[in-house]
């Protein structure tokens, strides 16, 4: 007498087996590849958020300030002209404050560009740092107009050239991250498509039997879609956790300014990795279903 009697099937303990055989060992390769792709996609996403934040910060700093170089004119000395200019600029609508920089402060600004030795031999211009009001800031034109009206010869730099470049860099970072994510998703889709085809070939006899027993193509395709969605989700979760771990470690090691000073990553940015498993599951399901339906359509 077998340990399992027919009576077992009369109870509710029986659960139907899967219509298609389990994937076994070959699934580990798919998990490995999708995990790596997701890992890279998550790092791209976190990096993109950091780059975006850095660009926004730099842009805010540039938009909120202007620099004015004072040139001596007429009988008036450079120092007197600079003091006058600072007073004039402070009175312009949209200016929070205008501060004449001391020589040491000006040298500090120029040192990275010219070097300490060269500064000693060069005349240092009089510089005025203008802080603009956040709401309705003064324009470069209004500052120039005020200086001209006061008879001061000055060159106004509202950082617009730098601001445009930073905005461009921010957009580029976002597009690059999005492009990387799309390419990685396509790569994952291609891998899953390949794996689905391999799975169908491996289970060809079972699939043919189901087909000739009256299974609709979509039933078999849905089984494969569910399987690969689950595998992709698991693999992506591994990749996402690893990416979050690496980003978090670098965040800790990088101090309060994030991974590196020019790429500030906040803890909240790591939440972006949550999207990856969901997206990977969706990509897995769609890729597997499409591949399965295409192959099944070739069976008479």
């Amino acid at each position: 007498m077998s340990a399992f009697s027919a009576l077992d099937f009369r109870r509710d303990t029986w659960r139907p087996g899967p219509l298609l055989p389990p994937g076994r060992g070959r699934d580990s390769v798919l998990i490995f590849v999708v995990a790596i792709l997701t890992f890279l996609a998550c790092l791209a996403g976190v990096g993109s958020l950091g780059a975006n934040r850095a660009a926004n910060g730099w842009q805010a700093q540039l938009v909120g300030s202007a620099s004015v170089i004072i040139r001596p004119s007429g009988a008036e000395g450079a120092d007197a002209a600079a003091i006058k200019a600072a007073e004039v600029l402070s009175g312009v609508a949209g200016v929070e404050q205008a501060k004449l920089l001391e020589r040491r402060e000006a040298e500090d600004l120029l040192r990275p560009w010219l070097g300490g030795q060269a500064l000693a031999d060069l005349p240092i211009p009089q510089l005025i740092a203008v802080d603009l009001k956040a709401k309705s800031p003064a324009t470069a034109a209004s500052l120039r107009q005020a200086l001209a009206a006061a008879g001061v010869d000055g060159e106004v730099d509202d950082h617009s050239m730098w601001s445009k470049q930073i905005v461009g860099a921010g957009v580029l970072a976002r597009v690059a991250a999005l492009g990387a994510a799309v390419l990685l998703a396509l790569a994952a889709g291609a891998v899953i498509n390949f794996a689905t085809r391999a799975s169908i070939r491996a289970h060809e006899e079972a699939i043919h039997l189901l087909h000739y027993s009256g299974a609709e193509d979509r039933l078999v395709a849905d089984i494969l879609a569910q399987r690969f969605a689950w595998l992709s989700l698991q693999a992506a979760a591994i990749g996402a956790v690893l990416a979050a771990g690496l980003a978090g470690t670098l965040r800790v090691m990088g101090g309060t300014q994030g991974l590196v000073p020019f790429l500030p990553v906040h803890w909240v940015d790591l939440a972006v990795v949550v999207v990856a498993p969901i997206a990977a599951g969706g990509v897995g399901a769609l890729a597997a279903r499409a591949a399965a339906l295409r192959l099944l359509s070739r069976i008479p």
């Binding site: 399992f4 029986w14 009256g214 609709e216």
Partner: protein
């Protein structure tokens, strides 16, 4: 399941008419072949000019030497292949114009016991038998008892949890046949159903198939076992090198 299913008497046999004997096509034809030819790829035809009808509730043996085209003919009926020429009608519908979406429903009306059995090795014997019912999306409560009874009838009640690789050839053959009939299909195609089984079980299986035909199921049994054919006096479709050389007449 009727364990004492007996052979129907000669006068219980269904009558068959076909295009080749001059009679008009019957409305109750479950299968109708009209000048059907079939070839694999560009190879010569393996079936040539087949014309016949299988009526509802009829029982036919399909005989012929190995390679005569018996399995190919069955594959045309269960829509695994398309004819190279000619027309096939199943349940009153032309297969040539059948949309792909409609085929699964047609196939579910056909129970096939394959010569090479084709069990799913990852499923238990019970699950293998239940496969057509699951594909028909019937709730397990509606058929669990039927599957158990069928396993018992085939002497496999204690093997319900066994996986196919652990079963003997005869057990696998019985399982394949149980799967073919469990859904009470309107048409049963049994390819060598008595191969690998002992003579007593073979006789029981043939008796069961004939009983099902009495109950309205159309049955085609491809077999090499000429004794069953001769003893039954049932009509025969005999294939000789892809051509139908005997149709409708018993071999007795």
């Amino acid at each position: 399941m009727d364990n004492n299913a007996g052979l129907p008497t000669q006068d219980e046999h269904s009558t068959e008419t076909g295009p080749d004997n001059g009679a008009a096509p019957r409305d109750d034809a479950v299968v109708r072949f009209d000048n059907v030819g079939f070839r694999y790829g560009r190879a010569p035809e393996v079936l040539t000019d087949l014309s016949f009808e299988l009526l509802k509730g009829s029982f036919h043996f399909l005989t012929g030497a190995s390679g005569a085209g018996k399995t190919s003919l069955l594959s045309l009926i269960y829509l695994a292949n398309r004819p190279s020429r000619g027309l096939i009608e199943l349940f009153g519908r032309q297969t040539a114009t059948l949309k792909r979406d409609a085929m699964p429903a047609i196939r579910r009306r056909i129970g096939v016991a394959y010569e090479d059995i084709r069990l799913l090795d990852h499923l238990s014997a019970f699950d293998n038998v239940a496969l057509p019912l699951r594909l028909a999306r019937m709730p397990p409560k509606a058929w669990r008892k039927d599957v158990i009874e069928l396993l018992e009838w085939f002497g496999l009640a204690e093997r319900g949890h066994a996986m196919p690789p652990t079963l003997s050839g005869g057990e696998r053959k019985r399982l394949g046949l149980a799967r073919a009939i469990v859904g009470r299909p309107e048409l049963i195609l049994a390819d060598e159903p008595t191969a690998y089984v002992d003579p007593a079980m073979g006789a029981r299986i043939m008796k069961l198939l004939m009983q099902l035909s009495k109950q309205g199921t159309t049955v085609v049994v491809a077999t090499h076992d000429i004794n069953f054919v001769a003893d039954s006096g049932r009509p025969v479709l005999h294939l000789d090198d892809g051509c139908l050389t005997a149709y409708g007449a018993g071999m007795k």
